[in-house]
């Protein structure tokens, strides 16, 4: 990224934070949280930072204009201590991450490849450069289709958290990550102290790992209807789905054991909530700060009210910047939708785009700022 592009981003980010600083409210108590920032492109994370007040936090952001802002899921006695064990963990929110990338594949027409060695590029997914053979850098745009699948997973997660785990809706906050995923933060008193081991159990529950299939199989093979078994939780959900899919209890009774087992496995795949396990286990994890800009896309980590979830449109509702025309030199860009409009495809051209789309292209590394 050229210096002029970086300055352009910093100007735009400043405008966003200047206008929206009051939306950036870290979870209380702010004094017990650790903060982390990416301040410069390509530099490591500046972490172990803490703030005494909301005002200090806001001042820091407006002075530094970080590229990315993070806050710990955990409360600590001494959040700025550089030694993780010396921070003295008090408790931690449950934090779930659903990554669109791992729930659905990105399509060719939403990706581009760039060869840094011989400066070739094109649309599509290519691992090796066609002219020099060097490994390429792949740029995947934010895909509406992928995000839709991830949103369905998020709804599944919320359903299980409510129905099975008894998490009250007011203790659950759902976010679009600003790039390729969704986050769910759970801040419910009795779950704050669940240890890493306990969190692993919650993950296994959501991913349906370690399920005792024999018991279910025996029920199924004996032809017990759902009214006849006292199943609850995920087992019940699996059982009901098998019965539904098979059509009738009788059919199952006459099917081969392997056939039923296969069906069971298929249904586990269908019903599991595809969260990223690593994120939830790690109590020291830093979470992207709500309402802050995600510098991989220039969109905002946006809170979504539960009732708005089914109709949420990430590529329209998470836009952070205005639509002033901005001049860009675009290397390569597949056709993309953003802010309700469609742009591109572009190749080696100078184009005028609204600021939000220009930021997006620059953040994705597909073009450079060329003046307003």
């Amino acid at each position: 990224m050229l210096q002029t592009s970086l300055e352009f981003l910093k100007r735009e980010f400043f405008k966003y934070y200047y206008e929206n600083i009051s939306r950036l409210v870290p979870p209380e108590p702010i004094r017990s949280r650790e903060f982390g920032f990416f301040l410069e492109k390509g530099k490591g994370m500046f972490r172990h930072k803490c703030f005494n007040s909301l005002r200090d936090f806001h001042e820091f952001i407006l002075n530094e204009i970080p590229l990315d802002i993070y806050v710990s899921a955990a409360n600590y006695e001494d959040p700025c201590n550089r030694d993780m064990s010396e921070k003295k963990l008090v408790n931690a929110e449950l934090f779930f991450d659903i990554d669109a990338e791992s729930v659905a594949a990105v399509s060719e027409e939403e990706s581009a490849w760039i060869c840094q060695k011989c400066n070739q590029y094109g649309i599509g997914l290519r691992d090796g450069c066609p002219s020099c053979g060097a490994p390429t850098e792949l740029v995947r745009l934010v895909s509406e289709k992928q995000l839709n699948v991830a949103l369905r997973e998020t709804e599944k997660l919320i359903h299980v958290l409510r129905e099975d785990f008894g998490i009250a809706p007011e203790n659950m906050r759902v976010f679009y990550s600003g790039n390729r995923g969704y986050h769910v933060h759970v801040n419910q008193e009795d779950f704050l102290n669940v240890t890493g081991e306990g969190r692993r159990e919650i993950i296994d529950y959501l991913l349906i790992q370690g399920l005792d299939e024999k018991e279910l199989l025996n029920f199924l093979k004996r032809g017990v209807s759902i009214g006849g078994v006292s199943l609850k939780g995920v087992k019940r959900r699996v059982y009901m789905r098998v019965l539904e899919k098979a059509g009738s209890v009788e059919k199952l009774k006459t099917s081969k054991r392997e056939t039923v087992l296969k069906m069971l496995e298929g249904i586990v795949e269908e019903l599991k909530v595809r969260i990223d396990p690593v994120v939830t286990i790690d109590m020291h994890r830093l979470m992207r700060m709500p309402e802050s800009i995600n510098s991989s896309s220039g969109m905002v980590k946006r809170r979504i009210r539960l009732e708005d979830l089914p109709s949420f449109k990430p590529l329209e509702e998470a836009i952070a910047f205005g639509d002033e025309e901005t001049c860009l030199k675009v290397k390569i860009a597949p056709r993309f939708r953003l802010g309700g409009r469609t742009f591109g495809p572009f190749k080696d051209e100078e184009v005028e785009l609204p600021a939000y789309a220009a930021v997006y292209i620059v953040c994705k590394g597909l073009g450079e700022y060329a003046g307003r």
């Binding site: 129905e163 099975d164 779950f191 102290n193 669940v194 240890t195 081991e197 159990e201 529950y205 939780g233």
Partner: protein
């Protein structure tokens, strides 16, 4: 005056009401303890610990319950005795014995009593129809993660609306874990040395006697003493370096991290390295500070494990190395083969 509640307090002496009963009704001054039979309580306390060590279960008979004052008093005394012995194995076995005994007794209790004990131990349960009890998920996770059988896994449980349902036996099992944790933690509290009467010392000796008889021939777990000694592997490198021999990079790392771990100050450590033929003050200072976590990422480096020392051909064990996995643990475990005379 001998109500059901008093019997219950005697049967489950870890319940808070036992403490209340003792402080309300029993004069804890020594002469009155004589009268209320503190000697009998002490005897019963020894029996509790012996039961735990020999049978892995503290048994409480109906007769014990009728002697409820003695029974109630014997529990805190047993804890004092176990704390005095300061042995991890005895602590764990005692906690296990008490909790196991409690578990057996709980199986015969009414739903009401079982739920009452659970509630008091922080394992609150709600009685549902069909003879099932439900427990809040976080409570369940805290206690059940130590069980490895697949049916304890959350994914295999009846989970609904924030609760895990289970039968009475399983519920009692969860309470057992909490009783175990409670007793174990109690035995970690230090006993003020001056306050212990001689009779307690003799009682503790008696328990140690039983324990040694059981342990004869087995590797012992008792810490010999707080040794400040240097393990032979590291001592060997230090001696060589003192003679001006040129140590390898890894050997220097071992010595430096060891000295840091033993809280030597940085200047002292640098002074030590100054005998090395290729000594440079600035380089040594930089590296030692780096290892101590003063520089760089702030990460303090630890002393390499026995395994790593062995891999690098630097392990020269002596008898105090038996059973340890890390040079800093040197001398913490006793020589195994020495037979014990009770």
């Amino acid at each position: 005056m001998m109500s059901e509640n008093v019997l219950r307090a005697a049967r489950y002496p870890f319940l808070p009401e036992t403490r209340e009963f003792i402080s309300r009704n029993i004069d804890l001054s020594l002469e009155s303890l004589e009268k209320t039979g503190s000697e009998a309580a002490l005897k019963r306390a020894v029996e509790r610990v012996k039961n735990a060590l020999i049978f892995k279960e503290v048994k409480v008979t109906a007769l014990d319950e009728l002697n409820y004052v003695r029974e109630m008093l014997s529990f805190p005394i047993a804890i004092i005795l176990v704390s005095m012995i300061m042995n991890e194995y005895v602590r764990r076995m005692y906690a296990l014995g008490e909790s196991r005994g409690a578990y057996r007794r709980m199986l015969n209790e009414s739903d009401e009593t079982l739920l009452y004990i659970g509630e008091k131990m922080g394992v609150g349960g709600v009685l549902d129809d069909e003879n099932t009890i439900r427990v809040k998920i976080p409570t369940y996770l805290k206690l059940a993660y130590s069980f490895h059988a697949p049916h304890w896994k959350l994914v295999n449980r009846a989970v609904n609306n924030g609760y895990v349902s289970m039968g009475k036996t399983e519920y009692a099992r969860l309470i057992q874990v909490e009783v175990n944790n409670y007793v174990y933690e109690k035995t970690l509290e230090p006993v003020p040395a001056g306050a212990v009467p001689d009779s307690f010392r003799r009682a503790a000796d008696e328990i140690v006697g039983v324990w040694s008889r059981l342990e004869t021939g087995k590797a012992s777990r008792v810490p010999l003493r707080e040794r400040e000694d240097t393990p032979p592997c590291i001592g060997r490198i230090i001696r060589r370096m003192e003679n001006g021999e040129n140590a390898s990079h890894f050997e220097r790392l071992v010595v430096a991290t060891f000295m840091i771990a033993r809280s030597r100050n940085i200047d002292e450590i640098i002074e030590f390295f100054s005998k090395q033929p290729d000594y440079k003050y600035s380089v040594t200072k930089y590296q030692v500070e780096h290892l101590a976590g003063i520089r760089g990422g702030g990460k303090k480096y630890s002393v390499p494990s026995c395994r790593t020392m062995l891999t690098n051909g630097l392990c020269y064990p002596d008898e105090y190395c038996k059973g340890i996995k890390h040079p800093l643990r040197y001398g913490e475990k006793n020589v195994a083969d020495e037979p014990r005379v009770p």
